[in-house]
Assembly symmetry: C2
Homo-oligomer: 250 residues x 2
Amino acid sequence: MKSITLIGSGNLATHLGLTLKKQGFIITQVFSRKKNNALQLAKKLNSEYTDNINHLISSDLMIICIKDDAIKSILTKIKTENIIHTSGTLNINIFQKKFKNYGIIYPLQTFNKNIKTNFSDVPICVEANNVEFQKKLIKLSNKISNKVYEINSSQRKKIHLAAVFACNFSNHMYAIAEEILKEENIDKSILLPLIKETAKKVEKKNAKEVQTGPAIRKDTETIKEHLNSLNNLSYKKIYKLISSNILQNE
Amino acid sequence: MKSITLIGSGNLATHLGLTLKKQGFIITQVFSRKKNNALQLAKKLNSEYTDNINHLISSDLMIICIKDDAIKSILTKIKTENIIHTSGTLNINIFQKKFKNYGIIYPLQTFNKNIKTNFSDVPICVEANNVEFQKKLIKLSNKISNKVYEINSSQRKKIHLAAVFACNFSNHMYAIAEEILKEENIDKSILLPLIKETAKKVEKKNAKEVQTGPAIRKDTETIKEHLNSLNNLSYKKIYKLISSNILQNE
């Protein structure tokens, strides 16, 4: 598998495309419903581009990097031999045996077009519909990452769910913290050592073992004060719910 | 200020005591209601110890490192000239002018007795009831950290509230993620690059700008699937609430 078609032009498509190109793969074509997005990424990858799903050029491997909601319908419009998606949640069955070789490479990382990512550190979860294709996907994955795992659809779904908590939800906690500091005109840089340390701690210990703060200390006065000083009703709800869950899980 | 009395023997008292000792301060005595805890820390600090609040030896500075709920009542039993607490939330008024010099040094970090912390990176928020004492507290703080801030009680309270979200709550998100992986017997190490990257991203960008995942993508199918696969009702509630808040804040 040398030539690759990229379906999608978002954060993951961008990082994956650039990494594959760097490792010697040829990105034949980029497809995006938004022509300009396809063009932008195609430029970086030195590839063709299209916004017309009927104009796909054949290649050794088609990689679908679009949001889950859109994958099912786009699959009905694609004819090819080797195809994979990159979704954490979608079952391998979504390909419905319409293709000869199909599977998934799911890179377990948060990507942003504007932030550099070292792909060699990104865990990649691989699954395929047959042993031969699985081997090929593992070979490809090993070229871009040092952390390749064979993971079935049900495991992958749980991993993705866990990732939503560990990444998206913790990031939202950072966002709320930034918002609270902004109200007092305090620069968010004061929080960075704390955020870094919190993430570092779980490298060696389970998160549950190293929990700190008012909830785990059952510091009800502080919890009351915090709730009083939160003006945003949603933040108040989130504070209450997570604090009580910390206590429950103790 | 050379000699110090430590009231408390928990995570913060331990780290602060060890750091102060390393910088040449003399920890005269450790007090804890639990005699054995006082003894354990006193051993490390080469100091006296007591579990009797009436047996405190006088020193240049008394540092109160116990949970917020207990500070008010312990203050009624203490007579000294120079006294500070280390709480993020408690107002400077808690000292009620009972002491000549009083204030706060609040180290903005999560501490665990069993994990080493580099104190020089820990932001310290300083407040005092008079300029002279403020100067002394800043001088002391500069000896143990490179990041010393003058912060008043109302700002400090907001900083502590922000820290609860950025640290305790994001740590709880890690704990839930670990729990979910455990159900499938997947080692949590697969999540570590993601956790690290998520924390790293906010060093350069605002958390809101770099949010990823099903909620911000409005990937309703995935959100539904995730909710279905969550057996724990509290986790389900947390997933729903945070996802809808991510969408609201967009």
